[in-house]
Symmetry: C2
Subunit: 279 residues, 2 copies
């Protein structure tokens, strides 16, 4: 089948690599808003050709939307306007509810499958594309009751080919879940980065003298605003609640230290340790 990938960055590029390796695409077409990224994606052999979106859609069996979520919100209705009954449109964005609502009444809604592969790195652009990025990870498939059975089947076939496991939920559940296990991690990493940088400027903290623990905790702070501002915007309500819940636990830690209550601090840490059993 002919597959179009709209957005040739980390996620789109990694899909391109794995779909090619799986031998699933007879032709891989690509589109990127940045001419430089499009050129680089070709250079890296991620896709066979880069062509404008309308042409790519016309020639494809499957259209994968792998652009930032604000761009998905703009493109999806347009793509659905032009979609043919045998085509499948899949978005790979990190937020789902607003998007779901925006196309709920679209006459071609059933050609669309909402998906969020829970995999990524802090890097962006075609050079960030990583073979095997999705292997063993999970793709969250949302509101499948609104998608045509054959579109679901095509999407599952693609995701299975790149090694993703499936989970099914509503777009509303998705956004609340993602606020905690993905979006909040980014907020925490950004705040940690800013706090440490401030201290570094004061001449005290020296990030390059840190161990692997700091690097691990702060890693997501390298993620780009182009991708993340639209995510926070679209999932604003849930992210705000998640920040409050996080801050509440932070304040609990603070109160233990202020009150020299080390028995309570130990209890908190023991509870936190239980994340071992949940991962």
């Amino acid at each position: 089948m002919t597959i179009s990938i709209i957005g040739l960055g980390l996620i789109g590029g990694s899909f391109a690599k794995d779909l090619r390796a799986a031998g699933l695409a007879s032709e891989l077409l690509g589109t990127d808003a940045s001419p430089e990224h499009a050129r680089r994606a070709l250079e890296l052999g991620l896709v066979d050709r880069t062509i404008p979106l309308e042409e790519a859609q016309r020639l494809s069996d499957v259209i994968l939307l792998a652009v930032p979520v604000d761009a998905i919100a703009l493109l999806l209705p347009r793509v659905l306007d032009a979609v043919r009954p045998e085509q499948t449109v899949i978005d790979l964005g990190s937020t789902k509810f607003q998007l779901a609502e925006s196309v709920r009444q679209h006459p071609n809604r059933e050609r669309y499958v909402a998906a969020h592969p829970m995999a990524g790195t802090e890097n962006a652009g075609p050079d960030a594309a990583l073979a095997g990025l999705f292997k063993g990870k999970t793709v969250l498939l949302c509101d499948l009751e609104w998608s045509a059975p054959d579109a679901c089947k095509t999407a599952l076939e693609l995701f299975h080919a790149v090694g993703l496991k499936f989970e099914f939920m509503s777009s509303e559940q998705h956004d609340r879940h993602a606020a905690y296990v993905s979006h909040l991690s980014h907020v925490a990493a950004y705040a940690l980065s800013l706090a440490v940088q401030n201290e570094e400027k004061a001449g005290y903290a020296v990030p390059r003298l840190a161990g692997g623990g700091f690097a691990s905790t702060v890693r997501l702070a390298k993620s780009s605003p182009e991708m993340w501002v639209p995510i926070f915007k679209q999932n604003r309500e849930h992210v705000l609640k998640a920040i409050d819940a996080f801050d509440e636990r932070l304040q609990e830690f603070k109160r233990c230290l202020e009150a020299n209550d080390y028995a309570r601090l130990e209890t908190l840490i023991r509870e936190a340790n239980q994340i071992r059993d949940l991962l």
Copy 2:
């Protein structure tokens, strides 16, 4: 030379492995407060013999203290009481100022070298010992002006043998630095773990459906209270300040979202991104 390692967990055990690999120790002696850990360390071949601390110290050229920082605070004065002029005592703890103050007036202070290798994992006990853990990492050496030149030389020789790079600072500087680049990361990870677990209990967040980003950010939340409560206790003042600085940035994120100020949010994220250049 004969080297004693007091505490055969992650740090002590990893040192044992690397010192043995470097061929620096004619004999490696070990002590652990837990008979089970001592037995397991022997089973794993981390040390040649496990014997009581007093006997280990009597037989050794170098005594490495690799126990939690509250135990270091108890043991160090005792070890210095019995130390001979040709012996070197090194602690590997994560906090330094209180310890430095507690032995500042000790008649044998100069036999002691204060060190903090900035390396570790979230695991504990002899089975967590990892060959090569210190390679390319940095050891922070504190207040070396209070240590005898030959003791410094011995310590540097050992640290060099396991692949550590050196940095020198006062114990006061150390504790402020460590509060930001190590201790705060742990607080953030613990709070993240607790917030997500709470949401998981409510049936919404599902940690096992998270991607690598969450795993990376929350990893340190697996670290044990036995090691971390004493660190927070001994570095209370700096950790409290670091939590406040972190919370300030978190609130800034929150205000941006509340006010729908996405231009400001983008600026914050761009600033946070600069951690790339500092690692």
